[in-house]
Point group: C2
């Protein structure tokens, strides 16, 4: 990635660039026939939509990484190498879960350019959720995504050298450092960039001084830093998923690294819960609100149950990795021991999932980055009604994560917070 050759693309220069890349010109046709529009917010990456004017089915999204991250008004140097992690992980997804991530057309490390499938019909998951749209296939799709990407990159499927080879390509130091600081540390201490609702000042302060909670968050952070269990997406919130009524695509995987499975699963759950609780304000009509909130919590249940079931099934039929293999459990009573080992393994993933989800919920209330569901509520008092519930769920999920035997037990915490708030 020689800096000297790197040039920021424009709508004009992109046509010439495409003409020089065989993979792209073959797919998109003549450069002179292309319509190119820059659509990104320019905070982190340039994002262009490219279409053939004469054949609109020929299209692509072209993403170029900029050498900095603009956050809270400041510019923060950030390796362009992050687009390599996105390209590599999307290619793994194309192989492991075809149809659940955009197809990769081309990757150019020198220019930090990644070209992929244009998702013209898809919308960011957060939008239909805010509009109380039912998503009948989402839980099935995302649980398949989670089960397959996590299982097939773990020691349950791979041999040691296979896993090590993959892991070596995903040492994602800079982006992991952002995440570990902005999820597990800064929101919980006096960091200047933190933002929170002034009406929640007392509750936020209480979290920051809660000795037991802080120890638990530190333990979860240790897991993020050291538990190289599977190849994670690393930022799997409702803004990283695009959907139609019957399709799901996971995008923006530049945070990909080897970490604890519960981090990815927990992110999905946390953002469904945040959306659910934001309806406390977004949907004023009580019956309508309650129906959709229960629907979303049922989606959470289906995501976990679907993930755990599919993961277990993959493991039962693919016992070829370095952990939990068939020959190791080949003794009288071995099948029962294996079943118990599987159950313990998934129980530990659930414990992690609930814990990381709790951290994710809290950090969106008291750290530098919130979520649109909350920030779109401009009235502090109204927003506080949703945020108080979220804070309570986050707190309880972290503290009680070891005590939940089933996902329903964790959801009972959310239901109970909603009931108290009727």
């Amino acid at each position: 990635m020689p800096e000297a050759d790197y040039a920021v693309l424009t709508e004009q220069s992109l046509a010439r660039y495409i003409a020089q890349r065989p993979a792209l010109s073959a797919r998109l046709g003549l450069a002179s026939d292309l319509e190119i529009t820059e659509v990104g917010d320019g905070n982190l990456n340039l994002v262009f939509i490219v279409r053939s004017a004469s054949q609109p089915e020929r299209a692509a999204v072209v993403k170029q990484a900029l050498p900095y991250l603009r956050v809270a008004g400041e510019s923060w140097p950030l390796t362009r190498d992050r687009v390599r992690f996105e390209a590599q992980s999307l290619r793994e997804y194309n192989r492991l879960v075809p149809g659940l991530a955009p197809e990769v057309y081309d990757f150019d490390p020198a220019q930090s350019v990644l070209a992929m499938e244009y998702l013209g019909r898809h919308v960011i998951l957060r939008r239909p959720l805010a509009a109380r749209t039912p998503l009948p296939s989402f839980a099935d799709h995302i649980s398949t995504f989670l089960a397959r990407t996590l299982f097939y990159t773990s020691d349950l499927y791979l041999t040691g050298p296979e896993k090590n080879a993959l892991q070596a390509r995903f040492i994602n130091a800079e982006l992991c450092q952002l995440q570990e600081a902005f999820v597990y540390s800064h929101p919980f201490e006096a960091a200047p960039e933190n933002r929170w609702n002034p009406l929640l000042a007392a509750e936020v302060e209480m979290v920051r001084r809660d000795a037991q909670l802080k120890r638990e968050v530190a333990e979860l952070k240790a897991g993020y830093l050291t538990h190289a269990q599977a190849l994670l997406h690393g930022d799997l919130h409702t803004g990283s998923v695009m959907v139609t009524a019957d399709e799901t695509r996971v995008i923006d995987s530049e945070f990909a690294f080897y970490g604890p499975m519960g981090y990815d699963v927990g992110n999905v759950l946390a953002h469904l819960v945040l959306n659910c609780l934001a309806h406390q304000v977004h949907t004023p009509e009580a019956a309508e609100r309650r129906t959709y909130q229960c629907y979303l919590l049922d989606v959470v249940r289906e995501v976990w149950i679907g993930f755990a079931g599919k993961f277990e099934a993959l493991w039962a039929t693919n016992r070829c990795g370095s952990l939990g293999g068939a020959s190791y459990f080949d003794f009288l009573g071995g099948e029962a021991a294996f079943a118990q080992f599987q159950a313990d393994y998934l129980r530990a993933v659930m414990r992690d999932t609930i814990g990381h989800a709790g951290c994710e919920i809290l950090r969106r209330l008291m750290g530098i980055v919130s979520v649109w569901e909350l920030t779109s509520i401009t009235d502090d008092a109204l927003r506080a009604t949703a945020e108080r519930l979220a804070l309570e769920v986050g707190r309880q999920w972290i503290l009680q994560r070891g005590q939940f035997a089933r996902i329903e037990d964790a959801l009972a915490v959310v239901h109970s917070c909603l009931d108290d708030n009727l």
Copy 2:
């Protein structure tokens, strides 16, 4: 490491080789003045001792990796790259624990040659232990080695990017695969290379069919595979340590990788216990035996207590890593929370230590590699008396590792096995 250039060294060619390496010729003097002797067993590496004839204080050990491992009579291709891991880790030790590992003089990746300090006065730790020699500084030295190498390479001291940079240099796929197979899997299943005392057939079979034990060993294996907590030596048995009455040097670190701290600490403890139990046969006189066995178990205690105390002290005065930092615990009651977090952290390391030690003890009884302390007892019946005790200690340590509050509780298991055998 181009294969074409690689040439196996001989006593003759080594003199010419040294003359071409400035770091070596500067240290050793004229090639014509050198006395060179091959001293290795040629199973894995060539090892030469090189000395100046006219100035015997000018000396070095030169180690060249062969492209295979000879084990159980078979030749097994094995990357010569392992000598890179040894050179890299020894250089870390030279920095972190100067005087506790041989000084590195030169490393040549093309020829897989590592030149280091010649330890002419030192003997392999196993020898004085077998001769019932007291080693007054060993526990202090090895606990310093463990505390410093593990603390300074962990998230407690390093930032994320610092740790990731180090970790990327220690993805040691081939050697880790040997270890995970030969420590945690093969000894516990029907693998053709396993060897065990026929008089212990029933006990060995019981271990291989013990459902709970097998699940616990699988959990420990998961830790070996996924818990990237610190840079480990990776093979820290009594054959990897050289001593004099007042000096200690750790050698042979080619298995170095990022793994759970308890693996290294546990290996030290396991081999002291194996040596202790082998005295059951090696030292027939009861009082003399009992005295040295108690001495060795006291060394085990001192190693753990020394390690934990030094580790805690380093952490208290170096809170600059990504985990457990000072600002995170800067709140009313934060110091108590930090102390509790430290205590929980070390308790988890102790639990891991005892568990990995238990696996190491068992695999030396029922896997492909035993230890000299046991194999030197040629009479099956006599050897079985020591091995039965070891099997019982290994089993109990694995199963009860979560219940020991202090190291003395784990040692009580060994004392109790010895008492039963009086």
